[in-house]
């Protein structure tokens, strides 16, 4: 296992070094070298994962005395396959995509270094190695986003990314300091074992896990573009498309990984996971709303990633840690595909804008039949009942005790809303055969839900084989049953009434009262300006620089 682990980390490093030294000799063939080593990295990580799946116990590999540990466990082996797989795809895509760009060799050197940093990050077995890799990912991303060294614009947004990542690095460094001081070791397995065994130390009058968990969550928020730390994400489209794909498919997911890595800390916390849930929820909603208001496909994808990251963090907040890992993998695959295909979509949009035409226009001018309508109340009932039944049945078949987990119930709500939205979209679609479309949609929804449930259950057993830890995570994320039941009742009522109102309003042709229309316009104005968060940050940074300049003048530059 050690040999595969060394190969996995060493090959991309060797690729970067060889690319740097042989760039003049190899010319464009530097890409082929990089791809070959990238393929080797992927094979090594798959070999590691297969050993883990074969039941080999977790192990550590020491590269130095006190730090430089690689932790080879189910989480690191799974994440290594994801990282090396996405990296390999990006390498293959970039070979031709970047062919006309200046700094071709530099790009592949940076890409290899980034792959190595990510692999070290996911397999770090001690706090220093984790900090080094965590920090380097931000620095390397800065230069990858600024691949076009003649473009100050690309660097302006790369700068925002760097600064946000640094904001996220520092809480992790503080958490590392606190953990080292409390347990006298940098090794993560030793810290987790000591934490599980003994009474918890106090910091600032609070239990150590509470403080450390909060700091780690902050780091995860910055890395995974949670609300107020998200502004870098949609604006880094000036970088090359392969970098966007790598960033959205791999790097931005690191927050979910970090929370999973520190699961033994979060088990000991009281309220931290509730805050994590709240932050994820706010981010998921705001990211999705902002996505809908974008006119630029890549920016819309950027905000979509923000929404997805919110959902991933929210999953951690409800204790569904392994589900977050599955989510980040699934998101990585589909978002990477979307980014790499974004150019084709833009080309297609130039031929057909895809804007739906008014119903009256299609009926009178195009002489196409008006869409079929069903009674709104019947459709509202179907919308609410069908997804709920599918979700509950599926979860019941996979694991009957899921109702005891509050987190699972919370996620069912989101599945319910998603399914309902899908049916509503079908209801609004213009089709001559509504029954066929409806059946197809229902079958695909069922397949997705069954697949999602089965796979997430399998992930749970693979990543957290210890049932006590699994239960501990769910317990740490839970709230008092009375409050939970009350919330479930309230949210159910809101959803049911909301959908009834939506169908009713749709039946009335979308006409609303004046004050509601005014409110809608103001809301649209706010989201089309991205809630002014970017403007606020820009203003603050300009004021800070102006203040520093005045201070320098006053102190005569010394």
């Amino acid at each position: 296992m050690d040999r595969w682990a060394l190969l996995m980390v060493g090959l991309p490093l060797a690729g970067a070094l060889l690319g740097l030294l042989l760039a003049d000799i190899l010319g464009r063939r530097v890409a082929q070298l990089s791809i070959a080593l990238s393929l080797g990295t992927f094979v090594a990580s798959v070999a590691l994962l297969s050993r883990m799946l074969g039941g080999e116990p977790a192990a550590t590999l020491a590269l130095a005395d006190d730090w430089g540990l690689l932790l080879l466990d189910p989480l690191s082996s799974l994440m290594a396959v994801v990282v090396s797989g996405i990296s390999l795809i990006v390498h293959l895509f970039a070979r031709r995509y970047m062919a006309e760009e200046a700094g071709y060799a530099r790009f592949f050197v940076l890409l290899d270094l980034m792959t190595a940093a990510l692999l070290v990050m996911v397999s770090a077995g001690d706090l220093i190695t984790l900090l080094v890799a965590w920090h380097l990912v931000g620095v390397l991303l800065y230069f990858l986003l600024g691949q076009d060294v003649r473009s100050p614009t690309a660097y302006r947004y790369a700068f925002w990314t760097l600064l946000t990542y640094r904001i996220g690095d520092l809480p992790l460094a503080l958490a590392a300091g606190l953990l080292f001081h409390a347990y006298g070791t940098w090794s993560l397995p030793e810290i987790f074992a000591a934490m599980a065994a003994g009474p918890q130390a106090q910091v600032l009058g609070m239990p150590l896990p509470e403080v450390v968990g909060g700091l780690i969550a902050l780091s995860a928020f910055a890395r995974s573009a949670q609300f107020l730390l998200h502004t870098w994400l949609p604006y880094t489209m000036g970088g090359p498309t392969p970098v966007s794909a790598l960033m959205h498919a791999g790097i931005v997911n690191a927050g979910g990984f970090l929370i999973n890595r520190f699961a033994p800390v979060f088990v000991q916390t009281g309220d931290v996971l509730h805050w994590v849930f709240l932050m994820g929820l706010v981010t998921a909603v705001i990211g999705s709303v902002l996505m809908l208001a974008q006119h630029d496909v890549k920016k819309a994808l950027g905000y979509s990633t923000m929404g997805q990251m919110g959902f991933m963090i929210m999953e951690c907040g409800v204790g569904a840690f392994s589900l977050a890992i599955y989510h980040l993998i699934a998101h990585g695959v589909f978002k990477g595909t979307l980014f790499l295909g974004a150019g084709g979509v833009i080309g297609q949009a130039r031929r057909d804008d895809g804007v739906p035409k008014d119903e009256l226009y299609t009926f009178v001018v195009e002489r196409r039949p008006a869409r079929q309508r069903r009674p709104w109340l019947l459709m509202a009932v179907i919308t609410l009942a069908v997804p709920g039944v599918i979700l509950v049945m599926t979860h019941y078949l996979v694991e009957q005790g899921f109702f005891h987990r509050q987190g699972a119930v919370v996620l069912l709500f989101f599945g319910w809303i998603t399914g309902a939205q899908l049916i509503f979209t079908t209801y609004r679609m213009r089709t001559e055969n509504l029954a066929r479309l409806f059946t197809l949609m229902l079958v695909s929804f069922t397949v997705v839900v069954v697949g999602y449930t089965l796979i997430s259950h399998a992930f749970d057993l693979f990543l957290y084989p210890d049932p006590a830890l699994r239960e501990g995570i769910h317990a740490a994320a839970g709230i008092a049953p009375v409050w939970f039941d009350a919330l479930v009742g309230l949210v159910t009522a809101v959803i049911v009434l909301g959908w009834l109102f939506t169908y009713y309003a749709e039946q009335q042709g979308g006409r609303g009262r004046d004050w509601l229309a005014g409110l809608r316009r103001r809301f649209y104005g706010a989201i089309s300006q991205e809630l002014l968060v970017n403007d606020l940050y820009g203003w603050v940074s300009r004021r800070m620089q102006a203040g520093a300049e005045r201070l320098n003048l006053w102190l005569r530059w010394s």
């Binding site: 080094v132 920090h135 230069f143 700068f159 520092l170 300091g177 940098w186 201070l551």
Partner: protein
């Protein structure tokens, strides 16, 4: 006596306003070798004085040192001149040595580790200044396009100066955070803020000097042997960081 020694140390591990002496001195020295020598020796004298005092650093002095580090890190975000940036970063970095809990020998190494990348930048900046007159972001050098070897070494030097892994500065700051976080969390947060401001100013400097289309005149790039020398020096900084990690962490 020990307090007097510590206050004298405040001149060399600069505490504002004593830090003005160092910065005016660096501004007066025009030759890069003289500046490099000062950057190497100045904090060593400070560490010598502070360790000779053989007394714990009082809380008010630690707070003063942190305030100085924050002041110069903040002021550095508005700088456009490489020489000034080096002086401000040196002031900010050396002030943080007051917060180190390391043994005297290690503290000398920490000071050296913080100075070394700044020396490298001073020498590189001297060479560039001889070519273009002023190494300032006003001049729109666009080094990545006009002189890529200079750009590469400059970027690596700036990264090492702002305590990017695995530079010695990174290990020093990580150790300082680990020392201060449990007992003095406010100081630890302050150190983290200094670190953040360094990154801000460093990234602005890189963008100002390296990015952009560059001027019409070509700059004679760093020769290949010199690029190798600087490259090996940067690699040496990385190795020094790794060995310092073994001692400090």
């Amino acid at each position: 006596m020990s307090l007097g020694m510590q206050m004298l140390g405040g001149l060399f591990l600069p505490l504002f306003p004593l830090s003005l002496v160092l910065n005016r001195g660096l501004a007066r020295l025009r030759h890069p070798y003289q500046r490099a020598l000062l950057i190497i020796l100045w904090p060593q004298l400070g560490v010598l004085l502070v360790t000779r005092a053989d007394a714990p650093v009082p809380a008010w002095l630690a707070a003063w040192a942190l305030a100085t580090a924050l002041l110069y890190a903040y002021r550095a975000i508005a700088l456009r001149d490489l020489g000034l940036w080096i002086a401000f970063l040196a002031t900010s970095a050396w002030a943080l040595l007051w917060l180190s809990d390391s043994s005297p020998g290690l503290r000398h190494l920490e000071a050296l580790g913080l100075s070394a990348p700044l020396v490298l930048l001073t020498l590189l900046g001297g060479g560039l200044e001889a070519l273009v007159g002023a190494v300032s972001t006003w001049t729109g050098l666009g080094l990545a396009s006009t002189a890529p070897r200079y750009a590469a070494v400059l970027v690596l030097g700036v990264l090492a100066s702002i305590a990017t892994p695995l530079s010695p500065g990174f290990i020093t700051l990580a150790a300082t955070l680990a020392d201060q976080a449990p007992g003095a969390p406010a100081l630890a947060v302050g150190v983290a803020l200094v670190w953040l401001l360094w990154s801000w100013s460093g990234a602005r400097l890189i963008q100002g000097l390296v990015v952009g289309p560059g001027g019409r005149d070509r700059i004679a790039d760093l020769s290949l042997p010199m690029a190798w020398v600087y490259g090996l020096a940067v690699a040496g900084l990385g190795l020094a960081g790794i060995s310092l990690a073994g001692a400090l962490l």
